[in-house]
Symmetry: C2
Subunit: 419 residues, 2 copies
């Protein structure tokens, strides 16, 4: 498509999104829930159509040489479609933050001020391979009263179209504007650029994908971005850690699932901790490649030497860099230098040391005696998440409905003029 046509397409989509957002902002929680439940039903009813469309994507993906991992992320079957519909229903059951009063005050002159939660407006979601994001992200945006413009990966375009058709038809049947959730119907890369520069027309962009996508969004965006950068998470085992807890949490934090952003990538062990050997042995026994210096290799002979780059590497794999440090302050300094402000944990039975770490580590999530793998909106009780923000403004850590809202100041007077 010519760039001028892309511009016209996006201008039309954003105008329709704004109109839909105005209507969505006036819907009650029950109305929004009802529409989402209708959408879940519609996705279930369209299961065969969605799976057939997905089969074409899988065929094209295999022909174009997508990796096995990518094909697995792309693949839909009856179970995955049912899970997608159930996910939309779960969003419909979440507490709607819109209309909540954040704060309220009365001034001496009688003015009554309230800060009230309202939707953000129009949200753009740019994502890759997993087609379930079409339903998940669309449902989350709509439940918070926002219009969504979805732009999925070209490899999933047929699946996304089929899911979106069902979702949008269901939402409309359930009483939402048809344009509440729109899908960019073309795969041109210029459409991403148009979204990223739609200042005033798109209020926030959420990238969901790998580093290449996030880097492009960060570099090109003129609209605000809720970005998830690296998850270079640390677990620090303090001298006062319970040895058995340290062993269990280190293994879980790294090995439960190595490909998620909350997976620990670097293990810091206090030189004062008495039992490092069983921890490292358990990791190696679990199939984890360890990388450390001579001290670490002396403790666990299967450990390989670490290079400087290891301390800055998000492996997303069964690899762990390990460093011995002289106490919590050195651990915190290492995290400040090498971490990504995502999730970092301390294992200790010393409450003072724990508080020192929790206060001093500047990350979206800090944990005491828990596995970094808990860094997840579902585990945090948010029901779902649009992403995990590693930025500092607006929303931090797992972002769900509340992070998809903003507020307005509502001032009620009785004729007050300002002196």
């Amino acid at each position: 498509m010519a760039d001028s046509d892309i511009s016209m397409l996006m201008a039309d989509m954003t105008a329709r999104a704004r109109a839909a957002a105005t209507r969505l902002a006036a819907m009650t929680s029950d109305q929004k829930s009802g529409a989402l439940i209708a959408a879940a039903d519609a996705i279930r009813a369209a299961s065969d159509t969605i799976i057939a469309a997905n089969a074409l994507d899988m065929e094209a993906g295999a022909a174009s040489g997508l990796s096995g991992a990518m094909l697995d992320r792309l693949r839909l079957d009856a179970g995955r479609v049912a899970a997608m519909a159930a996910g939309v229903e779960a969003v419909a059951r979440l507490d709607d933050p819109v209309g909540d009063t954040i704060s309220r005050s009365e001034r001496a002159n009688g003015l009554v001020l309230a800060r009230v939660r309202v939707p953000i407006g129009v949200i753009g979601i740019i994502y890759e391979s997993r087609p379930n994001v079409t339903a998940d992200a669309g449902a989350l945006c709509a439940m918070a009263g926002n219009a969504a413009i979805l732009r999925g990966g070209s490899e999933a375009i047929r699946s996304n179209r089929a899911i979106h058709a069902a979702l949008a038809a269901g939402l409309e049947a359930g009483g939402m504007p048809a344009d509440a959730v729109q899908l960019v119907p073309v795969t041109d890369r210029a459409a991403v650029g148009a979204m990223l520069t739609a200042e005033g027309a798109i209020d926030m962009v959420v990238p969901r994908g790998g580093k290449g996508l996030v880097a492009r969004v960060q570099a090109e965006a003129r609209v605000p971005v809720l970005a998830h950068l690296d998850g270079l998470c640390h677990t620090y085992i303090d001298r006062a850690a319970d040895p058995e807890m340290a062993r269990a949490l280190a293994v879980n934090a790294k090995m439960r699932r190595t490909g998620i952003c909350g997976s620990t990538e670097t293990l810091l062990i206090d030189r004062g901790f008495a039992d490092p050997a069983p921890v490292l042995a358990a990791l190696a026994d679990a199939g984890c490649e360890l990388r450390g210096d001579a001290d670490v290799q002396a403790i666990e002979p299967r450990a390989l030497p670490a290079a400087d780059a290891d301390w800055d590497t998000e492996y997303l794999d069964a690899i762990l860099s390990v460093k011995l440090v002289d106490g919590v302050d050195v651990a915190m300094a290492h995290i400040a230098r090498h971490g990504s402000h995502h999730t970092d944990a301390i294992i200790t039975d010393d409450a003072d040391t724990a508080e020192r770490f929790l206060n001093g580590v500047d990350s979206a999530i800090v944990m005491w005696n828990a596995s970094t793998q808990f860094a997840d909106g579902g585990e945090f009780g948010l029901g779902a998440e649009i992403g995990i923000s590693t930025g500092r403004l607006h929303a931090r850590g797992p972002v769900a409905l509340e992070g998809l809202t903003t507020y307005k100041w509502v001032v009620r007077g009785t004729g007050q003029a300002r002196p």
Copy 2:
């Protein structure tokens, strides 16, 4: 200064700011307050030095042809320096949001989650002529536990240096890091560019100045911006408005001070409102130039014809565009099309119509039976403001200490591994 020297200067300043921010984040509210009070004392003690430095700026400004209004904004005298010191003390008395628990929950697995307010980190302030911003903004950032990098206008550089020297010495004497508030010591425009692109080194930039500055910041910034765009505020007089209240509020909303962002720029009057003539006459009598169509001119003969551009113009002057509209929905549509999402008010005795307006108008501040001139952090009980945000994310409307903080998730466990 060569661009490479500017880069080195900014790299050094941001590194020192980050180190200071780490220390500031660990300070108690009392410690921060105490340092600010010491800084206020230091500003008072340096009053003569500050006024002498300001005299040199005034001289240079007059020689370079600054307007009378700009020279007035630049000018400091003993009263203004005393007010500046009092402003710093007022910030020291504000409730410190750092450490507040925003939400808390316990999961079924026993994990206890809390969202706790923390400072943002390093904040850049880019401002023009008024040298008091050096003290105001520096104090607000520091009270919220942030390190500030201030970049004032070249016309005020001597004043800013003198104020900053006193402020920083006072803060340090009061126990804060010397680098808690830094002033960019050079006037090169490249320093602004370096701040705007300091991704990861500066966490937020706040521009405080005219449209030229804000436009440059919006265009160039790669770091998040808390921006204040236009204040194209509306007052809508509904058919159910009390005539006397309508007259009084219209005059106050426009004429109390015409140069502030909360000043009403467009008056919308319901055709069903019985008494428009006294409202318009009172405005004209107060010296306001009215601009409207033939209907408006028929009501108030002193009104001039309005051009299309009038509906999109922030006059910041004793000029008001006036339009007759058919009811609240048409008024809201006009505001949606022409407003700047800053502050908009309805005058009515009909509570249902008021709620329709308060819910339906998508602005940072919506008001019922009050003057738009109340759009101000002090009037909102925030004590002070770093600015009024017209963006939708992070903070909206008047922004004070809370808007200069973010949060982290603190997770406390007893050894939980994720299943």
